[in-house]
Symmetry: C2
Subunit: 394 residues, 2 copies
């Protein structure tokens, strides 16, 4: 897919390794409406701080993204480096510095190699083309084993609106980081408040519902640029139906990218959906689902294909949310393994164990306390997770 | 060590495995002051529910403990089983049911083998002796690799007070459980309110400050019996100095047992103390220390002997406690690796890596925000942790 008005480019700049795509550029022909969502970690990398400040104007024209260095915990020098690289892009494109967003992933605590980026800039800009979106998706990879992209179209009032998204997941060939980055381009014509609102709502039920290991990076960010070249009726506060269609499609694309991240989680062999239903509120259901999804005991049991429902109910019990253990049902796939808090015996366990042999597993926990349903997405916890995160420097 | 008035016994009852010590009994000659602390998990095993209710009277005479089955998530039948086994002890000893505490560790969701316990009771009671404390410590082991006991004495107003403690740690040859059990006997003469208060305060800075994997069991409990045979002046609300001495010694013994549990954590190769100083309050410091101590990324880095301070500061940043990253110092042992939020370069990292080769590692995080200091104790996260928790049934 291409979207009129956007071009992309990626090069091997040698930021940490030689001959490896590590620098990407996304450019719009003109300044366009841009919304972002950023890490909630109070330790924020320099590019995150810079981007959040600049995005208060609600528009941008270029995104520069590098792998190999997170530019996090780098102090004043790190902020200078982020500004210097954005300035380098601005000069090469002849636009204002403040229209450039910067994004980094890689080692924490090391200074960014600004010189390598400056040196690569002419080649990077020369390579700009409508066709290099997949190349940029490769340039942002760290321990990701595959590039992650997703595409969608939707008809809004007779106009076809396009979406192109890319993401990188929780991987670290480098120490210290499990960064999630995502960039989405669309040709929708939409006001900033509506774009921002749809992004935040979309992220809350997709990217904010995945967990690999419970750690939150200093560099997480997602940016959406909307350039309006679809020539649809402007989506503003009066076009709520149009916004709904836009948001549904955006959310669908975000979920696609989020699930690609889970499937490619460090060492992951299985994708697991923890679905809590019958919760009093979405927040309470989410808290229970998240506690189960982050439990090492639950995740290692899935790796071992062991229908260990006791670990699930024990994790629920420490979630801080009140429920009645004696009313809880738990199913693995279609197999009811716990009914009203009691195990359903060897036969159910054998059937549940068969479900665990699959690659995609849905665990449904029914609290019978209310009407709210929430899903959290995670992966299993394998020997390779420990290997990846213990051995990389040795 | 022996304490006059207490006797102990352990047998292989065949609760789950044959020819393996799995049933222990601790008996006092008379009903004695007994205090307990129990799991905060809202899913509580049957023995926990029964004990909490019975301990409202502040005294007990016997503790029956089994491994091999947690008697958790077993519904009404599980509660009947807990009562039946306590009744069996009561009849054999000729005491009231309500004076018997019961304690279980092992598989969640399976019913307790009451018959095996009833059958073993005559032999168990016949074996009661002042000398079998270490045998009981063996009978409560699951994946613990060594029995854990600790002994202390203290002079209070000229009388020698003795303490004998045992614990089991976070292991599971069985599915689903990482149960901490501990039992302490003392000959101190002390009123229940003072014993309870000293136990709760002692636990809060010892057992409640260790973490293996962030999961909380449905069966955790600690019981302290004080039989008064030391003939010291009764420790009551008037003897605050005596209580302080008593509490210091009890706490020291509890810390000893707690650190033995960490050292024998599943797959652990290193003991790690996360010390947060300069916190505004103990609660805030504890929250930061606990988040760092539970981070899989931090724990795998320790296993890999990798001085990954970025993972520590990233975990601190998601702890929910406000601090100033640009003021933080981090030391590994005596090596300052982060000063005012910035890494101290290759030389410091090399020195820190040498510290990580040791078995006991202290990480000090100075927030420079206040005067509170807190320590949380944990272990590293190894390949064996995943193996133990994924493979046990295959």
């Amino acid at each position: 897919m291409k979207i009129k008005g956007f071009s992309t480019s990626a090069v091997a700049a040698g930021i940490r390794y030689a001959d490896r795509l590590d620098l990407g550029l996304i450019v719009s022909d003109t300044p366009v409406v841009t919304a972002g969502a950023f890490t909630t970690n109070q330790v924020k990398a320099a590019p995150v701080v810079l981007d959040m400040e600049r995005l208060q104007q609600g528009k941008a024209q270029a995104i520069l993204v590098n792998s190999g260095c997170a530019n996090a915990c780098t102090g004043e020098a790190g902020m200078q480096a982020a500004m210097a690289t954005s300035q380098c892009v601005a000069q090469a494109l002849g636009i204002a510095d403040s229209l450039v967003q910067v994004s980094s992933t890689g080692v924490i605590g090391e200074q960014l190699n600004v010189e390598a980026i400056q040196k690569a800039m002419p080649q990077l800009v020369a390579g700009l083309s409508p066709d290099h979106f997949e190349l940029v998706a490769k340039a942002i990879m760290t321990t990701d084993t595959i590039p992650k992209t997703a595409y969608r179209t939707v008809l809004i009032a007779g106009k076809e609106i396009r979406f192109m998204g890319m993401a990188k997941g929780a991987g670290m060939i480098m120490p210290n980081m499990a960064t999630m980055l995502a960039f989405v381009l669309t040709d929708a014509k939409i006001h900033f408040p509506q774009l921002h609102e749809s992004l935040i709502r979309g992220v809350s039920s997709t990217f904010n519902r995945i967990t690999i290991d419970g750690d939150t990076s200093t560099n997480d960010m997602i940016l959406v640029m909307a350039n309006g070249t679809a020539e649809n009726t402007l989506i503003d506060e009066n076009e709520t139906n149009d916004q709904q269609l836009f948001e549904m499609t955006l959310t669908d694309l975000l979920r696609d990218l989020a699930l690609q991240i889970v499937a490619d989680g460090e060492g992951a062999t299985k994708c697991i959906t923890i679905r809590v239903c019958g919760a009093r509120t979405v927040l309470e259901g989410e808290q229970i689902a998240r506690t189960v999804a982050n439990s090492n005991l639950v995740k290692t049991a899935f790796f071992g294909e062991d229908a260990n429902w006791g670990r699930i109910i024990a994790a629920m019990g420490r979630s801080g949310i009140l429920f009645s253990p004696e009313r809880v049902n738990i199913s693995f796939g279609e197999v009811l393994i716990v009914h009203n808090g009691l195990g359903q015996g060897k036969e159910a366990e054998t059937a549940a164990t068969a479900v665990l042999k699959e690659k995609n597993i849905v665990v449904t926990i029914d609290l019978k306390d209310g009407a709210a349903t929430v899903e959290v997405y995670t992966c299993d916890f394998s020997l390779d997770y420990v290997k990846i995160n213990a051995d990389y420097r040795s």
